[in-house]
Symmetry: C2
Subunit: 208 residues, 2 copies
């Protein structure tokens, strides 16, 4: 276990905790106090750390995800859908006068994009909350540009799926979906600000 700890860069007490919680399969027993751990244990430890540290996922969520991953009866599409939902905040729009109108606007967008199959997806409920806030603040210009933002989001999702397409094993695919999506959100937000700042500077230079 000391070797495993060194290889994976995870402290021994944490490894023991993961073993107890069922996040890491037990090693092959060598004696009463020793067990052998292989490269699959190092990989699993790195996955659990990535999900916890970068994904901010709790132990129960990670255990559920690993159970899905190890169950050959769970199809790849279903597994990745479950992985994706763990990194989607689950909250409903605050009730308010704008929620109904926001719901209609979002339903309209989903229909235009052909995404109506996803009416129950938590990300759709997040959109309703955001659009209700935009309505409340009178930021109608942003709402009118919703389809254009959707096209940009779709371009990012296409890259996501291309990147994911190369991952043949299930453990790797789950890691890419969870960690890639979360780090990817931060990356997109940062690059959006750079692109804004750059284009904005050019504009003001041009107009004086």
């Amino acid at each position: 276990m000391a070797d495993l700890s060194a290889d994976a860069g995870v402290p021994v007490p944490t490894i023991k905790y993961y073993l107890r919680e069922g996040l890491l399969p037990p090693g092959r027993p060598l004696s009463r106090n020793q067990a052998e751990y292989g490269p699959e244990h190092v990989r699993r430890l790195r996955l659990v750390r990535a999900l916890a540290d970068y994904g901010g996922l709790g132990i129960a969520t990670i255990r559920e995800l690993i159970r899905h991953m190890e169950d050959p009866g769970v199809a790849r599409g279903e597994l990745l859908g479950a992985a994706q939902q763990t990194v989607t905040a689950h909250h409903d729009a605050r009730p308010g006068e704008h929620v109904l109108q926001a719901g209609d606007l979002v339903a309209g967008l989903l229909a235009r994009k052909g995404w109506d199959d996803l009416a129950g997806h938590p990300a759709g409920r997040i959109m309703v909350g955001v659009v209700a806030s935009l309505l409340e603040l009178g930021l109608d210009d942003v709402i009118e540009a919703l389809d254009d933002y959707a096209a940009a989001a779709e371009a990012a999702a296409e890259v996501d799926l291309r990147v994911l397409g190369d991952a043949t094993d299930r453990e790797r695919a789950v890691e890419i979906v969870v960690v890639g999506t979360l780090l990817g959100d931060t990356l997109m937000a940062a690059m959006r600000r750079l692109a804004q700042a750059h284009t904005s500077e050019k504009t003001y230079e041009a107009t004086g």
Copy 2:
């Protein structure tokens, strides 16, 4: 003040606090205990609430932003740049073996996009942190797709600037930059997940 409170939907004690903190200009005095407030006070209150509630900005940041907004010597480009930076997290990459390599990768991307003028922008430092994490996790496929993600981010930024272009007054423009950017991040993340889920379902239906 009771009327102002009703019109803006902000409680009287909050209005008094904003007045003391210099976020709201005083009303025109009518008597020792009464002052007249106009529509500009209602707007200002709505802006401060939006920056605090949706932008999560602290009082000191809001005051600084309002000072910029009211100073005609601050050019529009500079004002909006300052507004944008308030909604960009300021943190440096954790020191680690991958930070130097990540810095080179980000500098390369900025050069390819023609964004080198922004080398010191906080969003660039955030990118270095994300890329260092991707390197640490061996998610090289994501890094290889960096330019494609940048193109998607650029598409979103173009919509941002088009939406902003319609806002002629400074108060409105600051509101759009701060609130639109933050709500916009959430919106993009939600739509990216919907697009992922939709394309992914189509793929699995097609291949069985």
